[in-house]
Symmetry: C2
Amino acid sequence: MGRGGIRRGAGRPKGQGKYNEPTKPIRIPESMISDVMKYLSIKGYKLPLYASTVQAGFPSPADDYIEQQLDLNQHLIKHPTATFFVRAAGNSMVGAGIHSGDILIVDRSLNPKSGKIVIAAIDGQLTVKRLSKTSKGLYLKAENDQYQAIKINDASDVVIWGVVTSVIHKV
Amino acid sequence: MGRGGIRRGAGRPKGQGKYNEPTKPIRIPESMISDVMKYLSIKGYKLPLYASTVQAGFPSPADDYIEQQLDLNQHLIKHPTATFFVRAAGNSMVGAGIHSGDILIVDRSLNPKSGKIVIAAIDGQLTVKRLSKTSKGLYLKAENDQYQAIKINDASDVVIWGVVTSVIHKV
DNA sequence: TATTTAGAATAATGTACATTATTCAAAAAA
DNA sequence: TTTTTTGAATAATGTACATTATTCTAAATA
Protein backbone atom coordinates (compact mmCIF):
# COMPACT_ATOMS: atom_id res chain seq x y z
CA MET A 1 0.00 0.00 0.00
CA GLY A 2 0.87 3.61 -0.16
CA ARG A 3 4.09 4.94 1.26
CA GLY A 4 2.92 8.31 -0.06
CA GLY A 5 3.42 11.80 1.16
CA ILE A 6 5.41 14.74 -0.10
CA ARG A 7 9.15 14.31 -0.78
CA ARG A 8 10.49 17.82 -0.48
CA GLY A 9 13.91 18.14 -2.08
CA ALA A 10 13.64 14.84 -3.87
CA GLY A 11 14.39 14.37 -7.53
CA ARG A 12 17.41 14.28 -9.76
CA PRO A 13 19.64 17.23 -9.03
CA LYS A 14 20.36 19.86 -11.66
CA GLY A 15 23.59 19.79 -13.60
CA GLN A 16 23.86 16.03 -13.67
CA GLY A 17 23.71 15.76 -17.42
CA LYS A 18 26.43 15.32 -19.99
CA TYR A 19 27.10 19.05 -20.14
CA ASN A 20 26.34 20.09 -16.57
CA GLU A 21 23.82 22.61 -17.77
CA PRO A 22 20.40 22.68 -19.42
CA THR A 23 20.19 21.76 -23.07
CA LYS A 24 17.88 22.60 -25.95
CA PRO A 25 17.22 20.56 -29.08
CA ILE A 26 18.59 22.32 -32.16
CA ARG A 27 18.22 21.01 -35.67
CA ILE A 28 21.56 20.16 -37.25
CA PRO A 29 22.08 19.18 -40.89
CA GLU A 30 22.87 15.48 -41.01
CA SER A 31 26.26 15.91 -42.65
CA MET A 32 27.46 18.08 -39.77
CA ILE A 33 26.13 16.11 -36.83
CA SER A 34 29.43 14.32 -36.18
CA ASP A 35 31.40 17.56 -36.57
CA VAL A 36 29.12 19.34 -34.11
CA MET A 37 29.33 16.45 -31.65
CA LYS A 38 33.12 16.64 -31.80
CA TYR A 39 32.99 20.41 -31.45
CA LEU A 40 30.83 19.99 -28.35
CA SER A 41 32.91 17.22 -26.84
CA ILE A 42 35.92 19.48 -26.65
CA LYS A 43 33.95 22.56 -25.66
CA GLY A 44 34.36 24.25 -29.03
CA TYR A 45 38.10 23.76 -29.40
CA LYS A 46 38.81 26.19 -26.61
CA LEU A 47 42.29 25.22 -25.41
CA PRO A 48 44.46 26.83 -22.72
CA LEU A 49 47.02 29.45 -23.65
CA TYR A 50 49.93 29.60 -21.24
CA ALA A 51 52.13 32.59 -20.70
CA SER A 52 55.78 31.80 -21.23
CA THR A 53 56.63 32.84 -17.70
CA VAL A 54 54.73 29.91 -16.26
CA GLN A 55 56.52 28.43 -13.29
CA ALA A 56 54.03 25.76 -12.47
CA GLY A 57 54.43 22.44 -10.79
CA PHE A 58 55.23 19.53 -13.08
CA PRO A 59 54.64 17.54 -15.11
CA SER A 60 51.22 18.92 -15.96
CA PRO A 61 50.65 22.57 -16.73
CA ALA A 62 48.69 24.01 -13.84
CA ASP A 63 45.45 25.84 -14.44
CA ASP A 64 46.63 28.78 -12.40
CA TYR A 65 48.94 29.86 -15.19
CA ILE A 66 46.43 29.79 -18.01
CA GLU A 67 46.46 33.16 -19.72
CA GLN A 68 43.18 32.47 -21.48
CA GLN A 69 41.13 29.80 -23.22
CA LEU A 70 41.57 30.14 -26.95
CA ASP A 71 39.69 28.90 -29.99
CA LEU A 72 42.02 29.25 -32.96
CA ASN A 73 39.25 29.90 -35.43
CA GLN A 74 37.63 32.57 -33.31
CA HIS A 75 40.98 34.07 -32.37
CA LEU A 76 42.47 34.24 -35.86
CA ILE A 77 39.39 34.70 -38.05
CA LYS A 78 37.34 37.80 -37.36
CA HIS A 79 35.44 37.83 -40.65
CA PRO A 80 34.81 34.21 -41.63
CA THR A 81 32.96 34.97 -44.82
CA ALA A 82 35.70 37.33 -46.02
CA THR A 83 38.66 35.22 -45.03
CA PHE A 84 40.68 32.71 -47.02
CA PHE A 85 44.05 31.00 -46.82
CA VAL A 86 46.98 31.10 -49.22
CA ARG A 87 50.05 28.95 -49.17
CA ALA A 88 53.17 31.09 -49.39
CA ALA A 89 55.89 30.33 -51.91
CA GLY A 90 59.34 31.83 -52.16
CA ASN A 91 61.38 33.67 -49.60
CA SER A 92 60.71 37.29 -50.43
CA MET A 93 59.07 37.93 -47.03
CA VAL A 94 61.26 36.03 -44.58
CA GLY A 95 61.96 39.35 -42.89
CA ALA A 96 58.30 39.47 -41.90
CA GLY A 97 58.38 35.90 -40.61
CA ILE A 98 56.83 34.40 -43.74
CA HIS A 99 58.55 31.29 -45.04
CA SER A 100 57.91 29.19 -48.09
CA GLY A 101 55.13 26.70 -47.42
CA ASP A 102 53.49 28.73 -44.65
CA ILE A 103 49.74 29.18 -44.64
CA LEU A 104 48.71 32.84 -44.65
CA ILE A 105 45.39 33.97 -43.22
CA VAL A 106 44.00 36.67 -45.47
CA ASP A 107 41.11 38.99 -44.64
CA ARG A 108 39.47 40.61 -47.65
CA SER A 109 37.35 42.92 -45.55
CA LEU A 110 40.30 44.86 -44.08
CA ASN A 111 41.50 48.07 -45.63
CA PRO A 112 44.91 47.63 -47.28
CA LYS A 113 46.64 50.49 -45.55
CA SER A 114 50.27 51.43 -45.99
CA GLY A 115 52.51 49.20 -43.91
CA LYS A 116 50.17 46.21 -44.07
CA ILE A 117 51.23 42.93 -45.61
CA VAL A 118 48.92 42.11 -48.48
CA ILE A 119 48.22 39.41 -51.02
CA ALA A 120 48.40 40.95 -54.47
CA ALA A 121 47.85 39.55 -57.91
CA ILE A 122 50.49 40.93 -60.26
CA ASP A 123 49.88 40.01 -63.86
CA GLY A 124 47.81 37.10 -62.62
CA GLN A 125 50.44 35.78 -60.23
CA LEU A 126 49.78 35.83 -56.49
CA THR A 127 52.44 37.37 -54.29
CA VAL A 128 52.72 38.51 -50.72
CA LYS A 129 54.25 41.94 -50.23
CA ARG A 130 54.19 44.87 -47.86
CA LEU A 131 52.17 47.84 -49.05
CA SER A 132 54.09 51.09 -48.78
CA LYS A 133 52.84 54.55 -49.54
CA THR A 134 55.54 57.17 -49.96
CA SER A 135 55.67 60.63 -51.48
CA LYS A 136 56.69 58.95 -54.71
CA GLY A 137 53.62 56.77 -54.86
CA LEU A 138 52.28 53.38 -53.81
CA TYR A 139 54.66 50.42 -53.74
CA LEU A 140 54.64 46.71 -53.06
CA LYS A 141 57.85 45.89 -51.24
CA ALA A 142 59.49 42.58 -50.47
CA GLU A 143 61.01 42.15 -47.05
CA ASN A 144 64.24 41.00 -48.66
CA ASP A 145 66.93 43.08 -50.31
CA GLN A 146 67.23 40.79 -53.28
CA TYR A 147 63.77 41.71 -54.50
CA GLN A 148 62.82 45.00 -56.07
CA ALA A 149 59.82 47.07 -55.07
CA ILE A 150 56.93 47.19 -57.50
CA LYS A 151 55.26 50.49 -58.21
CA ILE A 152 51.48 50.52 -58.41
CA ASN A 153 49.81 52.88 -60.83
CA ASP A 154 46.72 52.89 -62.98
CA ALA A 155 48.58 51.20 -65.79
CA SER A 156 49.89 48.32 -63.71
CA ASP A 157 47.90 45.12 -63.62
CA VAL A 158 47.84 44.80 -59.83
CA VAL A 159 44.88 43.77 -57.67
CA ILE A 160 45.01 43.60 -53.89
CA TRP A 161 43.21 40.47 -52.76
CA GLY A 162 43.35 41.08 -49.06
CA VAL A 163 45.36 41.83 -45.95
CA VAL A 164 47.44 39.13 -44.28
CA THR A 165 46.56 38.93 -40.59
CA SER A 166 48.53 35.87 -39.45
CA VAL A 167 51.09 33.36 -40.60
CA ILE A 168 50.98 29.67 -39.74
CA HIS A 169 54.33 28.00 -39.85
CA LYS A 170 54.73 24.26 -39.39
CA VAL A 171 57.93 23.27 -37.67
CA MET B 1 -16.99 21.31 -52.73
CA GLY B 2 -14.18 18.89 -53.28
CA ARG B 3 -11.57 19.54 -55.85
CA GLY B 4 -10.11 16.28 -54.69
CA GLY B 5 -8.11 13.60 -56.38
CA ILE B 6 -4.51 12.60 -56.16
CA ARG B 7 -1.75 15.17 -56.69
CA ARG B 8 1.17 13.08 -57.76
CA GLY B 9 4.46 14.95 -57.52
CA ALA B 10 2.97 17.71 -55.40
CA GLY B 11 4.50 18.95 -52.18
CA ARG B 12 7.46 20.97 -51.07
CA PRO B 13 10.58 19.77 -52.84
CA LYS B 14 13.48 18.34 -50.90
CA GLY B 15 16.53 20.44 -50.14
CA GLN B 16 14.60 23.67 -49.75
CA GLY B 17 15.59 24.17 -46.14
CA LYS B 18 18.22 26.38 -44.57
CA TYR B 19 20.90 23.77 -45.07
CA ASN B 20 19.74 22.11 -48.29
CA GLU B 21 19.70 18.73 -46.61
CA PRO B 22 17.75 16.85 -43.95
CA THR B 23 18.26 17.88 -40.34
CA LYS B 24 17.95 16.16 -36.98
CA PRO B 25 17.29 17.79 -33.61
CA ILE B 26 20.33 17.45 -31.35
CA ARG B 27 20.45 18.71 -27.77
CA ILE B 28 22.97 21.49 -27.30
CA PRO B 29 23.99 22.98 -23.94
CA GLU B 30 22.47 26.43 -23.72
CA SER B 31 25.77 28.24 -23.33
CA MET B 32 26.99 26.85 -26.64
CA ILE B 33 23.90 27.36 -28.77
CA SER B 34 25.12 30.63 -30.24
CA ASP B 35 28.58 29.21 -30.87
CA VAL B 36 27.13 26.18 -32.62
CA MET B 37 24.81 28.36 -34.69
CA LYS B 38 27.79 30.44 -35.80
CA TYR B 39 29.77 27.28 -36.47
CA LEU B 40 26.91 26.02 -38.65
CA SER B 41 26.38 29.31 -40.46
CA ILE B 42 29.89 29.20 -41.82
CA LYS B 43 29.89 25.47 -42.43
CA GLY B 44 32.26 24.71 -39.60
CA TYR B 45 34.90 27.34 -40.33
CA LYS B 46 35.97 25.50 -43.46
CA LEU B 47 37.60 28.20 -45.57
CA PRO B 48 39.30 27.91 -48.96
CA LEU B 49 43.05 27.43 -49.19
CA TYR B 50 44.53 28.77 -52.40
CA ALA B 51 47.74 27.63 -53.93
CA SER B 52 50.17 30.48 -54.49
CA THR B 53 50.29 29.79 -58.19
CA VAL B 54 46.70 30.86 -58.64
CA GLN B 55 46.20 32.79 -61.83
CA ALA B 56 42.51 33.39 -61.52
CA GLY B 57 40.30 36.09 -62.86
CA PHE B 58 39.87 39.13 -60.67
CA PRO B 59 38.91 40.58 -58.32
CA SER B 60 37.49 37.53 -56.59
CA PRO B 61 39.49 34.35 -56.10
CA ALA B 62 37.95 31.73 -58.35
CA ASP B 63 36.81 28.42 -56.94
CA ASP B 64 38.76 26.53 -59.59
CA TYR B 65 41.99 27.34 -57.83
CA ILE B 66 41.01 26.20 -54.36
CA GLU B 67 43.56 23.71 -53.14
CA GLN B 68 41.28 22.53 -50.36
CA GLN B 69 38.75 23.61 -47.76
CA LEU B 70 40.45 24.00 -44.41
CA ASP B 71 39.30 24.21 -40.83
CA LEU B 72 42.19 25.63 -38.82
CA ASN B 73 41.28 23.74 -35.67
CA GLN B 74 40.98 20.42 -37.44
CA HIS B 75 44.07 21.09 -39.55
CA LEU B 76 46.36 22.21 -36.76
CA ILE B 77 45.06 20.26 -33.78
CA LYS B 78 45.14 16.49 -34.10
CA HIS B 79 44.80 15.71 -30.38
CA PRO B 80 42.49 18.34 -28.89
CA THR B 81 42.60 16.97 -25.37
CA ALA B 82 46.41 16.82 -25.36
CA THR B 83 47.04 20.18 -27.01
CA PHE B 84 47.70 23.59 -25.50
CA PHE B 85 49.13 26.92 -26.57
CA VAL B 86 52.13 28.82 -25.25
CA ARG B 87 53.12 32.35 -26.06
CA ALA B 88 56.77 32.51 -27.06
CA ALA B 89 59.12 35.00 -25.45
CA GLY B 90 62.67 35.85 -26.48
CA ASN B 91 64.45 35.32 -29.75
CA SER B 92 66.34 32.12 -29.15
CA MET B 93 64.42 30.29 -31.87
CA VAL B 94 64.17 32.82 -34.70
CA GLY B 95 66.10 30.40 -36.85
CA ALA B 96 63.14 28.03 -36.65
CA GLY B 97 60.69 30.78 -37.51
CA ILE B 98 59.63 31.41 -33.91
CA HIS B 99 59.49 35.05 -32.88
CA SER B 100 58.73 36.69 -29.58
CA GLY B 101 55.00 36.96 -29.06
CA ASP B 102 54.11 34.07 -31.37
CA ILE B 103 51.59 31.50 -30.23
CA LEU B 104 52.97 27.97 -30.29
CA ILE B 105 50.72 24.95 -30.71
CA VAL B 106 52.00 22.20 -28.45
CA ASP B 107 50.95 18.55 -28.55
CA ARG B 108 51.64 16.62 -25.37
CA SER B 109 50.76 13.28 -26.92
CA LEU B 110 53.64 13.31 -29.45
CA ASN B 111 56.91 11.61 -28.71
CA PRO B 112 59.71 14.17 -28.19
CA LYS B 113 62.13 12.70 -30.68
CA SER B 114 65.53 14.14 -31.51
CA GLY B 115 65.23 17.02 -33.94
CA LYS B 116 61.77 18.05 -32.73
CA ILE B 117 61.12 21.47 -31.28
CA VAL B 118 59.81 21.07 -27.75
CA ILE B 119 58.51 23.10 -24.85
CA ALA B 120 60.63 22.36 -21.81
CA ALA B 121 60.49 23.56 -18.25
CA ILE B 122 64.01 24.26 -17.04
CA ASP B 123 64.15 25.05 -13.36
CA GLY B 124 60.50 26.01 -13.54
CA GLN B 125 60.92 28.34 -16.49
CA LEU B 126 59.27 27.51 -19.81
CA THR B 127 61.46 27.59 -22.89
CA VAL B 128 61.22 26.45 -26.48
CA LYS B 129 64.22 24.55 -27.80
CA ARG B 130 65.17 21.91 -30.32
CA LEU B 131 65.78 18.48 -28.85
CA SER B 132 69.04 16.98 -30.07
CA LYS B 133 70.40 13.54 -29.32
CA THR B 134 74.08 13.09 -30.05
CA SER B 135 76.70 10.57 -29.05
CA LYS B 136 77.50 12.87 -26.15
CA GLY B 137 73.98 12.79 -24.79
CA LEU B 138 70.64 14.63 -24.99
CA TYR B 139 70.64 18.39 -25.49
CA LEU B 140 68.21 21.29 -25.74
CA LYS B 141 69.54 23.61 -28.39
CA ALA B 142 68.56 27.13 -29.28
CA GLU B 143 68.36 28.04 -32.95
CA ASN B 144 70.56 31.05 -32.34
CA ASP B 145 74.33 31.13 -31.86
CA GLN B 146 74.13 33.47 -28.90
CA TYR B 147 72.53 30.81 -26.73
CA GLN B 148 74.25 27.79 -25.34
CA ALA B 149 72.93 24.25 -25.53
CA ILE B 150 71.60 22.72 -22.34
CA LYS B 151 72.53 19.18 -21.50
CA ILE B 152 69.79 16.95 -20.10
CA ASN B 153 70.68 14.31 -17.56
CA ASP B 154 69.08 12.71 -14.57
CA ALA B 155 70.37 15.46 -12.30
CA SER B 156 69.01 18.33 -14.38
CA ASP B 157 65.63 19.75 -13.48
CA VAL B 158 64.20 19.55 -16.98
CA VAL B 159 60.72 18.40 -17.97
CA ILE B 160 59.52 18.19 -21.56
CA TRP B 161 55.98 19.51 -21.72
CA GLY B 162 55.26 18.68 -25.32
CA VAL B 163 56.20 18.93 -28.97
CA VAL B 164 55.62 22.13 -30.92
CA THR B 165 53.68 21.39 -34.09
CA SER B 166 52.98 24.86 -35.46
CA VAL B 167 53.76 28.51 -34.92
CA ILE B 168 51.25 31.30 -35.30
CA HIS B 169 52.78 34.63 -36.09
CA LYS B 170 50.72 37.81 -36.26
CA VAL B 171 51.97 40.30 -38.78
C1' DT C 1 -9.62 27.49 -74.32
C1' DA C 2 -6.97 30.05 -70.80
C1' DT C 3 -6.76 31.52 -66.12
C1' DT C 4 -7.66 31.23 -61.34
C1' DT C 5 -8.42 28.88 -57.06
C1' DA C 6 -8.83 25.63 -53.46
C1' DG C 7 -7.29 21.98 -51.59
C1' DA C 8 -3.71 17.98 -51.74
C1' DA C 9 0.89 16.64 -51.07
C1' DT C 10 5.06 16.78 -48.83
C1' DA C 11 9.39 18.85 -46.71
C1' DA C 12 11.14 21.87 -42.87
C1' DT C 13 11.05 23.17 -38.23
C1' DG C 14 10.38 23.87 -33.40
C1' DT C 15 8.66 22.07 -29.28
C1' DA C 16 5.68 19.17 -26.26
C1' DC C 17 5.76 14.96 -24.31
C1' DA C 18 6.86 10.34 -23.12
C1' DT C 19 10.67 7.95 -21.42
C1' DT C 20 14.72 7.35 -18.71
C1' DA C 21 17.81 8.36 -14.97
C1' DT C 22 18.62 9.71 -10.49
C1' DT C 23 17.90 11.11 -5.72
C1' DC C 24 15.02 11.61 -1.62
C1' DA C 25 12.43 10.21 2.29
C1' DA C 26 8.15 8.01 4.37
C1' DA C 27 6.72 3.68 5.58
C1' DA C 28 7.65 -1.14 6.32
C1' DA C 29 10.53 -4.63 8.02
C1' DA C 30 14.12 -6.35 10.92
C1' DT D 1 16.14 1.68 16.89
C1' DT D 2 18.29 0.67 12.48
C1' DT D 3 17.92 -0.97 7.87
C1' DT D 4 15.47 -1.78 3.72
C1' DT D 5 12.02 -0.93 0.43
C1' DT D 6 9.20 1.51 -2.60
C1' DG D 7 7.02 5.13 -4.60
C1' DA D 8 7.48 10.38 -5.06
C1' DA D 9 9.95 13.99 -7.12
C1' DT D 10 12.43 16.05 -10.66
C1' DA D 11 16.18 16.62 -14.24
C1' DA D 12 17.97 14.74 -18.74
C1' DT D 13 17.10 13.10 -23.20
C1' DG D 14 15.44 11.67 -27.62
C1' DT D 15 11.75 11.70 -30.73
C1' DA D 16 6.89 12.04 -32.29
C1' DC D 17 3.91 15.30 -33.72
C1' DA D 18 1.70 19.57 -34.64
C1' DT D 19 2.65 23.51 -37.22
C1' DT D 20 4.46 26.04 -41.03
C1' DA D 21 6.13 26.58 -45.67
C1' DT D 22 6.03 25.46 -50.29
C1' DT D 23 4.70 23.44 -54.63
C1' DC D 24 1.52 20.98 -57.52
C1' DT D 25 -2.72 20.06 -60.06
C1' DA D 26 -7.76 19.01 -60.60
C1' DA D 27 -11.69 21.53 -60.74
C1' DA D 28 -14.00 25.88 -61.19
C1' DT D 29 -14.36 30.02 -63.53
C1' DA D 30 -13.94 33.42 -67.21
